[in-house]
């Protein structure tokens, strides 16, 4: 490990993904990151490895990662790794990285990933890009991405088509600005990736069966841990699955004159569509909906087939979490509400009058099919 030098770029190879588990179960972000990691590894012509830490027996969860594209999964098992602990995880991960030297390392931007990744990047002396929403190696792909997703004049710029740096794009300034970050002088190049953004590959059983499991050597003892996790408490209520939903009906402060009635209407509309209810931060801060319902920059990023915004003004922080929905429908009594700037279909009116009509109309349209 003494020969580790993050600036010796040529010594680093392969793309790694940190695969987070809670209570022995893989997280949905693991599959998203493995899928994206597969593309990057192919562009670089290297292997894709999952890195899975957990308690005794976690190995049994590893093969599934192969089904989404991992060539190999590195499994580190120890009772001290069963529950996430910053010191234990950072030590094992940094030691394994110093030994095996991956060139890129992706971590889900969950509350755990965002605790772990900066600690590791500081120890390894390398760069870390936060909360990415887009990743590229090939410059041609990156240029295409800019054509579709920016107002930059890409044709008037000079490009080094041989550039093999990972180009990590992320929102900053509350979504007002996008930045593409590179880490040209140090390895591994590290990024946390926002959950729900990368598309998951279809699961392939043959690839899962072919996935190689490797158990790297590591040392870890009780004395390495400086914090003690006394308990892990799950939220009592079943949380709403916004990220997996195809249809989301969200409510905003516009329901204030009859909060219960407004939420009930949203639930009915969601039921008719087979979807779930979300909300703007205003509804969470007011205590009308629990935090797991929040859509936006500090809530969830969603891309359902249909997103219906009832009485939501469309603040930039809200848009940041929903503007990539396939179809956006907005109902707002103010025809200048910014939400209409991104809505595919807008209705200017009172949500308490429009929503019941919409429920009936959609019921009828579905029945007619």
């Amino acid at each position: 490990m003494s020969n580790f030098n993050s600036a010796d770029i040529a010594a680093f190879k392969d793309v790694w993904v940190f695969c987070e588990q809670r209570e022995g179960k893989l997280m949905p972000t693991d599959f998203e990151l493995i899928s994206k990691g597969r593309d990057l590894a192919d562009e670089l012509g290297v292997n894709l490895c999952g890195l899975l830490l957990g308690g005794e027996g976690i190995e049994s969860a590893a093969k599934e990662l192969g089904g989404y594209g991992a060539d190999k999964v590195l499994v580190c098992e120890s009772p001290l790794l069963a529950v996430y602990n910053t010191d234990a995880y950072a030590k094992v991960i940094c030691d394994v990285i110093e030994d095996l030297k991956p060139e890129a390392f992706l971590i889900g931007a969950t509350n755990i990933g965002r605790d772990l990744a900066p600690r590791c990047a500081a120890r390894l002396h390398t760069g870390l890009c936060a909360d990415c929403t887009h990743l590229d190696i090939d410059v041609a792909n990156y240029i295409q991405f800019l054509r579709e997703s920016s107002t930059l004049d890409v044709d008037s710029q000079k490009w080094d088509m041989e550039d093999r740096n990972l180009k990590m794009t992320r929102p900053a300034f509350g979504g007002h600005l996008m930045a593409t970050i590179i880490c040209p002088r140090f390895r591994p190049c590290m990024a946390t990736v926002r959950p729900g953004v990368m598309k998951k590959n279809a699961f392939d059983q043959a690839k899962a069966d072919a996935c190689e499991i490797v158990k790297p050597a590591f040392e870890l003892s009780e004395s390495d841990l400086n914090t003690e996790v006394v308990e892990v408490v799950k939220a009592a209520k079943k949380l709403v699955d916004l990220i997996g939903a195809d249809y989301i009906v969200s409510v905003g402060r516009g329901i204030s004159k009859d909060v219960e009635g407004g939420i009930k209407l949203a639930e009915e509309l969601a039921d008719v569509l087979g979807g779930v209810v979300g909300g703007s931060r205003a509804t969470i801060d007011s205590g009308w909906l629990s935090a797991d319902h929040q859509v936006g920059q500090t809530g969830k990023t969603v891309h359902p087939k249909v997103y219906i915004a009832l009485g939501i003004s469309g603040a930039i922080q809200h848009k940041a979490g929903m503007q990539d929905s396939e179809c956006i429908i907005a109902v707002n009594k103010n025809d200048t509400a910014p939400i209409f700037e991104i809505a595919d279909y807008g209705i200017c009116g009172d949500l308490f009058k429009v929503t019941p009509l919409l429920i009936e109309a959609i019921k009828a349209a579905k029945a007619a099919k």
Binding site: N111, D115, R119, L128, R170, L177, I181, G346
Partner: protein
């Protein structure tokens, strides 16, 4: 015992944000505020001061006008302030920023019963990386996403939020904690506090003061010492506005349902 709170002055991104044609931010056109999570960190420190009588220090790295923010935080109740400011520190990414702040904090000195506090995330850079990176460089244990902090002797018990619940974590001082808005409601400056603030010590750490610290050298600070670089920046495109339907009655809703059905969206 003392608590060192890292605070950042940030542009207020909740209002209109002006972007220059080249994709950089027009900072001159924006109001500055103390980063919201940092206000929660200051309040958490002041609560511990109320309970134990410990000292609270606020530290910021930024341009000289950030001193005004430090005076305001001392008017809230902080006892001392340090402004870390030098041209050499400009352009730092989170690695370099935490390197400099760690050097400043260790120059102040971290005793066995001290706590370092940060906000979880700054609303401009939005990375949430500086807190854990300072902790690593000071070899302190970290607890992030703190929604409750209880102190009993040298043991701190923190409620650490997860997406689907929380963890209860015990840690001994010295340690670093990052704070979120659920932790508390920051107090206001008091009239007495405003009078007192100009008699409280505000020291500036410039490059001269920190340059001999082992964490500070040209390869680890400023633009040159930053492992990450901004390759491009741009404004996200606005999704084009679609169709405003006429009216808001039964016919309008039927028309919408009809379009959705025809497009196989429902």
């Amino acid at each position: 015992m003392k608590i060192i709170v890292c605070v950042k002055q940030v542009p207020d991104t909740s209002g209109k944000v002006a972007v220059n044609p080249d994709g950089t931010l027009n900072r001159a056109s924006m109001q500055t505020i103390t980063n919201p999570d940092d206000m929660n960190a200051v309040e958490a420190a002041l609560k511990l001061k109320d309970a134990t009588g410990c000292k609270v220090m606020v530290v910021t790295m930024g341009p000289p006008p950030a001193a005004g923010m430090l005076r305001e935080l001392m008017a809230m109740g902080a006892d001392e302030a340090v402004l870390v400011s030098a041209r050499e520190f400009g352009g730092s990414d989170t690695y370099a920023t935490s390197q400099i702040l760690a050097a400043a904090i260790s120059t102040i000195g971290v005793e066995d019963d001290d706590i370092v506090m940060c906000g979880r995330q700054a609303i401009d850079g939005d990375t949430a990386q500086v807190g854990p990176q300072i902790a690593e460089k000071l070899h302190l244990p970290q607890v992030t996403y703190a929604a409750d902090i209880q102190k009993d002797g040298d043991t701190i018990t923190v409620k650490r939020m997860l997406e689907d619940g929380y963890m209860t974590i015990k840690v001994k001082t010295p340690c670093l904690i990052t704070c979120i808005k659920e932790l508390n409601n920051p107090r206001y400056m008091s009239i007495g506090g405003i009078y007192a603030t100009y008699n409280k010590p505000l020291e500036t750490f410039d490059y001269e003061k920190l340059k001999d610290h082992p964490l500070i050298d040209a390869t680890t600070i400023g633009l040159k010492g930053s492992p990450t670089n901004i390759f491009k920046s741009f404004t996200p495109p606005q999704k084009g506005a679609g169709m405003m339907l006429e009216g808001a009655d039964k016919a309008t809703c039927e028309k919408l349902a009809d379009i959705l059905a025809k497009k196989h969206i429902i």
